[in-house]
Symmetry: D4
Subunit: 174 residues, 8 copies
Amino acid sequence: MKPLVGIIVGSDSDLPLIKETTSILEKLEVPFEITIGSAHRTPDFVAEYVNTASARGIKVLIAAAGLSAHLPGVVASKTLLPVIGIPVDGGPLNGVDALYSIVQMPGGIPVASMAIGKSGARNAAVFATQILALADEKLAEKLKVYRQEMSESVKEKAKRLSEMGIEKYIDEKE
Amino acid sequence: MKPLVGIIVGSDSDLPLIKETTSILEKLEVPFEITIGSAHRTPDFVAEYVNTASARGIKVLIAAAGLSAHLPGVVASKTLLPVIGIPVDGGPLNGVDALYSIVQMPGGIPVASMAIGKSGARNAAVFATQILALADEKLAEKLKVYRQEMSESVKEKAKRLSEMGIEKYIDEKE
Amino acid sequence: MKPLVGIIVGSDSDLPLIKETTSILEKLEVPFEITIGSAHRTPDFVAEYVNTASARGIKVLIAAAGLSAHLPGVVASKTLLPVIGIPVDGGPLNGVDALYSIVQMPGGIPVASMAIGKSGARNAAVFATQILALADEKLAEKLKVYRQEMSESVKEKAKRLSEMGIEKYIDEKE
Amino acid sequence: MKPLVGIIVGSDSDLPLIKETTSILEKLEVPFEITIGSAHRTPDFVAEYVNTASARGIKVLIAAAGLSAHLPGVVASKTLLPVIGIPVDGGPLNGVDALYSIVQMPGGIPVASMAIGKSGARNAAVFATQILALADEKLAEKLKVYRQEMSESVKEKAKRLSEMGIEKYIDEKE
Amino acid sequence: MKPLVGIIVGSDSDLPLIKETTSILEKLEVPFEITIGSAHRTPDFVAEYVNTASARGIKVLIAAAGLSAHLPGVVASKTLLPVIGIPVDGGPLNGVDALYSIVQMPGGIPVASMAIGKSGARNAAVFATQILALADEKLAEKLKVYRQEMSESVKEKAKRLSEMGIEKYIDEKE
Amino acid sequence: MKPLVGIIVGSDSDLPLIKETTSILEKLEVPFEITIGSAHRTPDFVAEYVNTASARGIKVLIAAAGLSAHLPGVVASKTLLPVIGIPVDGGPLNGVDALYSIVQMPGGIPVASMAIGKSGARNAAVFATQILALADEKLAEKLKVYRQEMSESVKEKAKRLSEMGIEKYIDEKE
Amino acid sequence: MKPLVGIIVGSDSDLPLIKETTSILEKLEVPFEITIGSAHRTPDFVAEYVNTASARGIKVLIAAAGLSAHLPGVVASKTLLPVIGIPVDGGPLNGVDALYSIVQMPGGIPVASMAIGKSGARNAAVFATQILALADEKLAEKLKVYRQEMSESVKEKAKRLSEMGIEKYIDEKE
Amino acid sequence: MKPLVGIIVGSDSDLPLIKETTSILEKLEVPFEITIGSAHRTPDFVAEYVNTASARGIKVLIAAAGLSAHLPGVVASKTLLPVIGIPVDGGPLNGVDALYSIVQMPGGIPVASMAIGKSGARNAAVFATQILALADEKLAEKLKVYRQEMSESVKEKAKRLSEMGIEKYIDEKE
């Protein structure tokens, strides 16, 4: 199936984090492609990747980067597709630098910032799917199921907690 | 024309900021609706507003709030539509509180955070339009023009600066 | 005994922290109940839990959450009972995000924020008990004893330190 | 009527802010007393004020301070009554220092922190009333009305906005 | 004279700040050119400007930007010339976002960050001149004189202060 | 009378702030001297000033600086006299930069940091006097009176507030 | 020998850190005493300890605390002796809370803040000794030697580095 | 070969970090020297080292320091050579203190700040080389190759990722 979501990460050290993104896309059966491209080390490769994305059928782009994290903004400057940014945690500032760099985009060229690190990596997948689901009822249905499962899982845990009490619950979890 | 974008602000004191959002939507001829609803003061009104949004034809929701800024997350918890959050500047922390509260959503329920304040308010409109443009070629065309104008305007300024020099440029601008 | 304090946590990963809360409530013999509910994943479950709390005899609610930490505010929006919030440490921002989200509530809907993490989890129990003790002299007496013990324990340590000197004290403690 | 809420501020420069607190207490007809006492400049006066509060019939204490803001914690160390802290905005750090100092209390001696500045000053009054309302049904009723009015006011604004549109709404408000 | 320093600003609203840079370059008689180019709105213009800089004789590039401030990094990714970055103050985060975005460059593509705002704008000029002075003894001499004047001016003020006393000194200065 | 306290400020723009320091020293009749010296612009002047301080009879040094604020540390590196640092507020970071730079001295060369801005400027004078008072009973007596006056002034305000009520108190103060 | 420096820590968990302080005092042969006292858990013990300090011959007080860290300020409010504060690192905010709480004292009641954690613990000892050395030439001499040794040690390392090169130096150190 | 770059670190504990700097200089065959000097513990040694640097043929100075990190600024105050600062990560604030202290230099005496920690240590070497390459075509060529290799390495990884898929890529890397 042709990929609808294009993922680009600033460094291969970001891949374990981005695994959180791809796992959810796989679960929701959203076809995606993934590459590595640095805004600073391979600007031309990034430009070409982004410039051709739309023609390849990509509808949403996800870009992840840490530290000064220019990648999502640089991607956004070269396309009219929606760009979702994931601030990678790590480095001495633990991702606050990446968050500021990704979210504080000037007027006209938006990047949709997700949370720093793991939660953000997951939500990038969900948000991309929410966009795609606007034009795909089956996907909308899958999202609904995904959210129901999430909700059921919390309720299940609540039930188990009420049955077992906090001490036993913690013991079993460990 | 039936609104495609639903905007909800946490307080009417946010409206002057959100004017930046609506001006761009108007310019791009994206039909929208706007209301006031507080996650804490009128949770039921917010719930109802969001629950019925999809049925009303809304495709994208924009929520703006300051301080603890729970509104975008609360909106997102009640819909599968993409939700864009605008952290309102103001208050003693000047919007950092709102940014953290909007962007740091836990895995599963994404909010797409824009920049704090004016830039974010503008970009919420552009980003919503980018999503809608995936299914609307005329809108995609308008976005392209919008971005070209933006680009032309910067180049024009560069040209005037090179002609006038920095001192004269600043003088005339003031 | 019917619970007087209702505790709700955003995720079962918060339970080890919240054990600090329940241990003190147990020690002070304050009856409590505890459940898991997510402001975003199970908003309806949270609403129902809170809406029925007062009728169940609950007098004080304690809500713990991390990251964007909307739970305490969402709880507070649905009840007139006092709500105590515990910002859970963890995540790349280590709980500053949760603190801001919990403490910066807009005028009208208060949440009483405790410290981030362990100290806050403990103090939520003590503060809830202080509220209940206003109408329960026996509880007030227990609190008094609790505080005296705390005070005695510090004085005991001071005495041991003065007898042993700092080096021996540290050695024995390790 | 004998005061039930005791308010203490660290400096008379905090009084305009604390007017937000007393206005709401007056509106809700909660009798209160107010004084000025510095944790550092008049520690003995503060100690005496707090030590005698319970005997005077005070049920809840509210303490407001800026900068290093030790007052709420010092008050809490001398009483078993619930203590609510208001971090005063102002100074070069704009109240972040006061927030940290008030909220980060060590285990055993809680202070219930409200938001920095105006929202916090308001919520201290509401939260104190919520505590008192646990033992006073008329007060509970007043709180309910207060919150309904708040809710109605937001809905009214939403209605006016939908009738007038954003531009006219902003114009009239200014 | 052919410009040796190329200055590029992200927006014409940065020009009053950058006047601090150009004034010092003029004083030190360092020939420079200045243009406006946005990393996001006119990426191609920026790329071309930077790609041709070396051929035009430019030895040092200065880039100033605010908010997410990708410009200096984007410039650095396209040249081997030394790039000096000025984080523009302004916006709700007052330039901390711009600082992090400029200074936290990943390994391999350096940007030399100056201070946020005015001090940084001045020092960009001085630092650029220090680089050029390595190959230009006359320039080194001018820098030496510039620094001596700066030093003399401080000593003069110290002398006046010792003669007048602090009160009179402040009065005259105002 | 020979000065006992030596004050050095990084720039004459710091003098209005430092007036808070000198006023208290004058009130407490502590003889002092004041000069301007920059750690970076006039390092030799600073070195000489500090090197000769002890021989001139100076017992305590006070150094005030903003931004990167190296002055107090540079002063401390050249003397065994106690050095008190005042972080000057101002600049885009409003003195947090100066605070960190002054307070985070490495082991071995201490600087005693006061609060950022006005409170710090006042307390530098009080702290210097406290040091001098260890060897001067008259000065200790003056400090005692100073603190009593401070205490009385707070109590007086408390009394006025209790007589007038908060509204009238605020009105009269304005 | 009668102690001249009184050290008080907020909790016995601070003792390993404060060992850095006592080691240097021992090395410099400055007699000291040390106790544990909590501003919140044992306010009366702290008050008595401080009130009697001067009579016991104490000249300088050192107070260490973490989190909301009121101890140094509370100590300072009860004495005219110089008070040195050590912000203890640890807790979710890693000592920034303690730093703000200690350093941001309001005008009139100074606390001399040292660095957060280990460097601060060391410097509290050095700074206390610098104060005492004003009235004790032998101590001044010891301080001079202490600083010379520190200086020699750095120079020795520089010499070894120049002889061995960076690689071998690192290898041997590990 | 005579060293062109002079590196000075504040403490020998910074050497493992600075190894990142020297490795790149070695790779690019830029001759350098390295020493240890503390702005506070050995100010005279630092002064002498810097004063004689130019005469020794040094063209660029690199200074690394943590905590209050005055070293780069102190170095810059004594020379007209370009000074590059590396904020060392570590300590309770993890290098934010060092960053502010290094980058926030007042107007007139610039320090070129690199990123905190490892990225900064690497980039100091690259930036120094970029300066030297202005007058050395061979060096410019080496830099070009270095950057191409960096670019190739990213592209290689992208290729491998596209061949292997994310899961296998991560597995092999671990």
